[in-house]
């Protein structure tokens, strides 16, 4: 679906993308992560044909993305908080109708398509904002309308640049439900999704592959599980001591913290599993309110970036 080979892009002297290459198959759901200013948005803009790469080979669905834009526009759905597809001074309804009129060829939809669009409308509560003018919408509300607009034309590729900014938790989950539903409706050709986000949770909900970009270079490309295994090796156990005393020194743990009754233990999952520690704990004391958690995902991302500090990026 998407082929990118050795893309380079610079704004004046500032090199934004360095030798970026990846292939995305049809129907894949890929998450792209990176710190602010790492080149994610530039990459998306190159894929959409808004920007031209300085060098390299880009093909989206077998075509050059910067040619024949009119035809392509209906085949790529795009959601972003920074750029809006909707008309600023018109209602959401008008924008949607205008789109239908502008691309009559693409707007040949079957019953089932209409049904899925209705589902999206219902699920994201678009009725409430249907007759509102775009500029009067809050960001969260606008993003819901943008999402509808993007999937409406039944695109082959959906590029979502932080699609849930400003939305509350409930709506976020619903948006991903919608996407799932949408993909189920088109089983023969499920939409390929490129998701740019800072939220690991959303990535877990949607993606089966993660690409991490740092200083314009790809530093990780693979399954999310693999990323977790490699960079998320620490686990955490929290509990309260009811009776007895514990001796932490002879336990296979990295460190512990005690705050009155509450205790927190950090251990390395590569060397010891949680149940061994728990067993030892329970033999020695009566403990309550036990929690066994992974270190948070943010730690994982931090490890990932720290390992890949490229020397060329430093001034």
């Amino acid at each position: 679906m998407v082929i990118a080979n050795h893309i380079n892009k610079a704004f004046l002297e500032k090199q934004v993308l360095r030798d970026v290459s990846f292939h995305i198959k049809e129907g894949e759901r890929v998450g792209i992560i990176g710190v602010n200013g790492s080149g994610k948005t530039t990459l998306m803009q190159i894929l959409m044909g808004v920007l031209l790469a300085d060098s390299g080979y880009v093909r989206v669905a077998g075509e050059k993305s910067w040619e024949r834009q009119g035809k392509r526009k209906t085949r790529i759905g795009f959601v972003s908080p920074r750029q809006s597809n909707l008309h600023p001074d018109r209602t959401v309804e008008d924008s949607v109708n205008l789109c239908k009129k502008m691309y009559p060829k693409a707007w040949k939809v079957s019953e089932s398509d209409l049904e899925s669009i209705d589902y999206v409308k219902e699920c994201l509560k678009i009725k409430d904002i249907w007759k509102e003018i775009r500029s009067s919408l809050s960001l969260g509300e606008r993003m819901r309308a943008e999402f509808l607009y993007a999937v409406m034309m039944n695109p082959h590729l959906l590029i979502m640049d932080e699609p849930t900014t400003g939305m509350d938790y409930e709506m976020r989950t619903r948006e991903y439900e919608c996407l799932d539903y949408f993909r189920k409706c088109h089983k023969d050709m499920p939409v390929t999704v490129l998701l740019v986000t800072h939220s690991i949770q959303e990535m877990e909900w949607l993606c089966d592959r993660v690409i991490a970009i740092h200083h314009g270079q790809i530093i990780f490309d693979g399954a999310l599980e693999y990323l977790q295994q490699r960079y998320l090796s620490l686990g955490k156990i929290c509990f309260e001591i009811e009776e007895g005393a514990l001796h932490f020194h002879d336990m296979p743990i990295n460190k512990y913290e005690m705050d009155g009754k509450r205790v927190q233990i950090i251990f390395d999952k590569r060397y010891v599993s949680a149940n061994i520690i728990l067993q030892q704990l329970m033999e020695e004391a009566v403990i309550k309110k036990i929690r066994v958690l992974d270190m948070d995902m943010e730690t994982m991302i931090r490890n990932l970036y720290q390992e890949n500090q490229s020397p060329s990026s430093k001034p």
Binding site: N36, G166, L293, R302
Partner: protein, 346 residues
């Protein structure tokens, strides 16, 4: 508010009494001409009967779904909107009536907008702010140095704002809002669209400002990790009414009792039946992985874990507490709360 016997150590800086705000929404019908000549309006209550007090030095998280009335409340507190009913006092001033006086006391950051000049360097905007707020030279230099150190403004101080990345812009925006040592800082989604490093930096900064200058912070956000890291007190608003006001810990204790255990291993049916017999426990199995959900008020995690431990063939265990997102979601749907009125734990 019931606060007899409770000594308020800190001075109250914000007092809100029976606050209400309506919006008129024009009803549109299908008939165009009729619409033009006779306009009909619908009154929507954006905020209704909101009461709270905030003491000096508190960091309060103000959360609610889209369209719940968060921004409307903040706008009334900053004086952008006039309340329709009730009163607001910020430092004893009514912000709607004395906007200029009020503006000297507060700093505001709206995450989706910016108050920096688009085309001029950050430095110049800050300089402009100095003159606008009549900040003495010494305070200006001190603050500038302090904020540059913590927020790392130095590297992009000379760049025009349009060339900054989102993270840099947000840091500059916060520095700009707090340059005149305001007593109260309103932050409306300050971490929107930021990566984890900048997020941490911003959170650290807010914490430090709060500690050093005893700035009162009111924070609205959809990112629950912000709340968990920063706020001691949360207010939850839904459909214009405050449905929870209390500490984060109490919120967890009152609503966060659905917990879950994930475990990998080899399971036999007899064993699983034994677990299922415990009160409020439900088990779902997927090949060698099982997921046990239970209510922590009825059964403690150690009982289940003890049972699991007896089974020698397990290799990985995780015990999760309910996520804050889940708790808040539960709060929105929880009817009891609505019927009994507001829960106050303070």
């Amino acid at each position: 508010m019931e606060e007899k016997g409770e000594e308020i150590l800190n001075r109250t800086v914000i007092r809100v009494e029976n606050l209400g705000k309506d919006y008129q929404i024009r009803k549109r019908t299908e008939r165009f001409w009729k619409d033009i000549f006779s306009r009909q309006y619908e009154v929507k209550k954006a905020v209704e009967d909101v009461n709270f007090e905030i003491a000096e030095g508190e960091i309060v998280g103000y959360i609610g779904p889209n369209g719940a009335g968060k921004s409307t409340t903040i706008k009334m507190l900053t004086g952008i909107l006039q309340p329709d009913r009730g009163q607001v006092f910020v430092n004893g001033i009514q912000p709607g009536k004395c906007r200029v006086d009020n503006a000297k006391n507060i700093g505001v950051v709206f995450g989706q907008r910016t108050q920096l000049w688009w085309d001029i360097p950050v430095k110049d905007t800050l300089h402009l702010m100095k003159h606008m707020y009549h900040i003495p030279e010494q305070t200006y230099q001190e603050n500038l140095k302090l904020y540059s150190d913590i927020l790392g403004l130095g590297e992009f101080m000379h760049l025009p704002v349009r060339q900054l990345s989102l993270g840099q812009r947000m840091r500059a925006d916060i520095a700009c809002a707090i340059l005149h040592n305001p007593q109260i800082l309103y932050l409306d989604e300050p971490t929107i669209g930021l990566d984890i490093f900048v997020k941490e930096n911003v959170r650290g900064f807010i914490h430090e400002i709060n500690q050093k200058k005893r700035t009162t912070v009111i924070l609205t956000t959809h990112d629950m990790s912000d709340i968990e890291k920063l706020c001691s007190r949360v207010m939850v608003i839904d459909q214009g009414r405050i449905i929870y006001d209390g500490s984060l810990l109490d919120l967890r204790e009152q609503y966060g009792h659905m917990e879950s255990i994930e475990a990998k291993g080899v399971w036999d049916d007899v064993f699983l039946e034994e677990i299922k017999r415990l009160p409020s426990v439900s088990v779902t199995q997927e090949e060698n992985q099982i997921m046990i959900q239970y209510d922590s008020r009825k059964v403690d995690s150690d009982k289940i874990l003890f049972l699991l431990m007896k089974n020698q063939r397990i290799c990985d265990i995780k015990v999760h507490e309910q996520s804050l997102d889940g708790i808040i979601k539960q709060l929105y749907v929880c009817k009891e709360v609505r019927e009994n009125g507001i829960f106050r734990v303070y």
